[in-house]
């Protein structure tokens, strides 16, 4: 167990481990409903809009661009939801338009004067630079998510089965969709600096998708998703330390490996 003491000898590794232990269950829980409600593309678009959020922060001179990213993320989610609800175009088209335009606006603003390299860190993220105060904000959002789950889980589940049925049961579908989107926006924007735009969606989707391969009911689905997310997160961080690889992508590779194993063996598991 000498490797554990070596691994935890440094404060930055302790901080990164604490952050992973908060982010991964959070993503594990959220991912289940994102996969159920077919919102994978939506969370991806939100991630891409982080560029514009950051760019607006830079233009407005906000000292902490994290604030402008969260505010923009919420507005982005609300607007996207509104346009989706008008049913003028198919969902994937609307989301794709929003994703591309917000990425382009962000890139144009951030690359003014050829300075984009200053901001390219956000593409892959850096969990190693997280500080205790930022870990606390992640912990707060984890608690909020769990509370939201306790209150709204059944309603969200009904919506994922059939929206018309949910409406007929008196569930405020629009309002709930909005709250859920805002929650995704806040979580994505708060964790994107540590995880990175390019891979944040993989971390949201892969554990839930793997769990769905083998789970037969909601309890299993949630439990497996959280277990897979935490396992991939912690092991990915340990491997990234010893192999000197980027932490985020290492975690995604592990989650991806687990996804393919569960995909290939799902028949055997479900039969048994």
């Amino acid at each position: 167990m000498q490797w554990i003491s070596e691994f935890l000898k440094y404060d930055f590794m302790k901080n990164a481990l604490a952050a992973i232990l908060i982010i991964t269950p959070l993503f594990g829980i959220l991912g289940t409903m994102i996969v159920n409600n077919k919102l994978a593309f939506f969370s991806d678009a939100l991630g891409h809009s982080a560029f514009t959020g950051m760019a607006l922060g830079v233009i407005l001179g906000v000292s902490d661009t994290g604030i402008s990213m969260v505010v923009f993320g919420i507005l982005f989610a609300l607007l996207l939801n509104y346009i989706r609800s008008r049913n003028t175009l198919s969902n994937d088209t609307v989301i794709s338009v929003f994703s591309s335009v917000s990425t382009a606006i962000g890139l144009v603003i951030l690359s003014r004067g050829g300075n984009f390299s200053k901001y390219s860190q956000i593409l892959v993220g850096d969990i190693l630079s997280i500080r205790p105060s930022e870990i606390v904000s992640l912990l707060v959002i984890l608690i909020i998510t769990i509370l939201f789950w306790a209150v709204a889980f059944n309603k969200l589940l009904a919506m994922s089965v059939n929206v018309s049925l949910a409406k007929s049961k008196g569930i405020p579908v629009r309002r709930l969709e909005t709250v859920f989107s805002v929650l995704i926006a806040i979580i994505v924007m708060l964790s994107i600096r540590w995880i990175g735009i390019l891979i944040i969606n993989a971390l949201l989707i892969l554990p839930a998708a793997s769990a769905r391969n083998i789970a037969s009911n909601m309890r299993e689905y949630h439990l497996f998703s959280v277990l897979i997310a935490v396992f991939s997160g912690v092991l990915g961080l340990v491997i990234s330390y010893f192999l000197n690889t980027a932490a985020g992508p290492t975690i995604v590779i592990l989650s991806g490996t687990i996804f393919f194993i569960t995909l290939l063996t799902r028949g055997i598991v479900k039969q048994s």
């Binding site: 390219s120 083998i214 598991v269």
Partner: protein, 354 residues
């Protein structure tokens, strides 16, 4: 449910075992990069560990610590990494910085990760090689200057960049550095000598026991750099006022030392491509001033440079910006690189009829 949990645990065990195997294969510990050492003997933790940010600073520090007992110099980035504007610290870098006795950076905003490094350890001693050195504008600001300048008056007097003494005399020391300036100062031997002096002072302060050795090395290396500066000063007579377009920020100081007229500087370090407007501007500048010379980094694919050369019937000359080197490069890599650059510039001046 229990069966499935066991199944999931099996998957975890397999993935964990494969990962452990991969870590074991990689050498039972942290994978090393080509961190060079001035002294390879003994355990790093017991030595005076100097960590540098990237190649030019690493090369400079290695020359100063050459042969000094008990001192190890390690570079954060690989020698071939080049400029590190968007470099991100890896776990090994963080570990190295946690153990460092002195961290030497180039400064001037070159190392964007400095905040992260500072946040890592409050007691980490950091020294900036470019402290107190004046910078020219960045590439984008160069182009902006030229957009505004009046061609009717451009009789060769717009060559001098703001903040730089175009006559080869001492750059203004009282100018404190700007975070947005062009920090690739090492291609100007005079500024490089200032970096040498700054790093020597930092080493002497942090490791006073070896002060004499550092100062000896500084004098020896400084003499060699001075000779390169003298060669450039000699070449200045031929090169003064000759128009040139540059495709690397590091060439600005070299061209300026020679008193050349810099028509435009475009940096390929950045992640953005050169826009059509910028290329058109370069073509106009070259045509107006009768420019022929285009300097770009050696071994870099630069379609914009080729396009420009075709349009104005100019010629591309490949120079070494000295931002990167091969693993285990010799201590004289800077001197050799600068001499090669001088040879290429002489050839270019002959081709252009100067």
């Amino acid at each position: 449910m229990k069966k499935k949990l066991v199944y999931l645990c099996c998957i975890f065990l397999i993935v964990g075992a494969v990962s452990a195997g991969a870590v074991g294969l990689a050498g039972n510990g942290v994978v090393g990069k080509d961190a060079g050492k001035s002294d390879t003997s003994g355990d790093v933790s017991e030595e005076f560990l100097v960590v540098t940010s990237f190649y030019p600073v690493y090369l400079l520090t290695c020359n100063l610590a050459d042969g000094v007992p008990g001192v190890t110099v390690r570079n954060l980035t690989e020698s071939h990494a080049g400029c590190i504007h968007d470099y991100q610290l890896t776990t090994e870098d963080m570990r190295l910085l946690s153990e460092a006795d002195l961290f030497i950076l180039n400064g001037g905003g070159m190392e964007a990760f400095i905040e992260q490094a500072a946040g890592l350890r409050a007691d980490l001693t950091m020294a900036e090689a470019s402290e107190g050195i004046s910078f020219t504008d960045t590439a984008s600001e160069h182009s902006h200057d030229h957009e505004e300048h009046d061609h009717a008056q451009a009789g060769g007097e717009d060559g001098a960049q703001s903040g730089v003494s175009g006559n080869g005399e001492n750059p203004e020391m009282e100018h404190s550095h700007s975070e947005e300036g062009n920090a690739h100062v090492w291609t100007d031997p005079e500024r490089y000598l200032m970096q040498l002096s700054n790093v020597t002072e930092a080493l002497c302060e942090a490791d006073p026991a070896n002060e004499e050795r550092y100062r000896e090395n500084a004098k020896h290396y400084g003499d060699e750099v001075w000779l390169v500066g003298a060669e450039l000063a000699q070449l200045r007579e031929r090169a003064e006022g000759v128009p040139v377009v540059l495709f690397h920020d590091a060439f600005v100081y070299l061209a300026d030392t020679l008193g050349m007229e810099i028509l435009h500087t475009a940096s390929l370090d950045e992640d953005t491509t050169i826009s059509a407007g910028e290329l058109a501007e370069m073509i106009e500048e070259m045509r107006y001033h009768g420019g022929y010379m285009i300097w770009e980094e050696n071994d870099v694919n630069n379609p914009a440079g080729e396009r420009l050369a075709e349009e104005v019937e100019g010629h591309i000359y490949e120079l070494n910006p000295l931002t990167s080197g091969t693993s285990g490069a010799s201590l004289s890599a800077y001197i050799d690189g600068m001499r090669q650059n001088i040879a290429v510039i002489k050839e270019a001046l002959t081709d252009a009829g100067y």
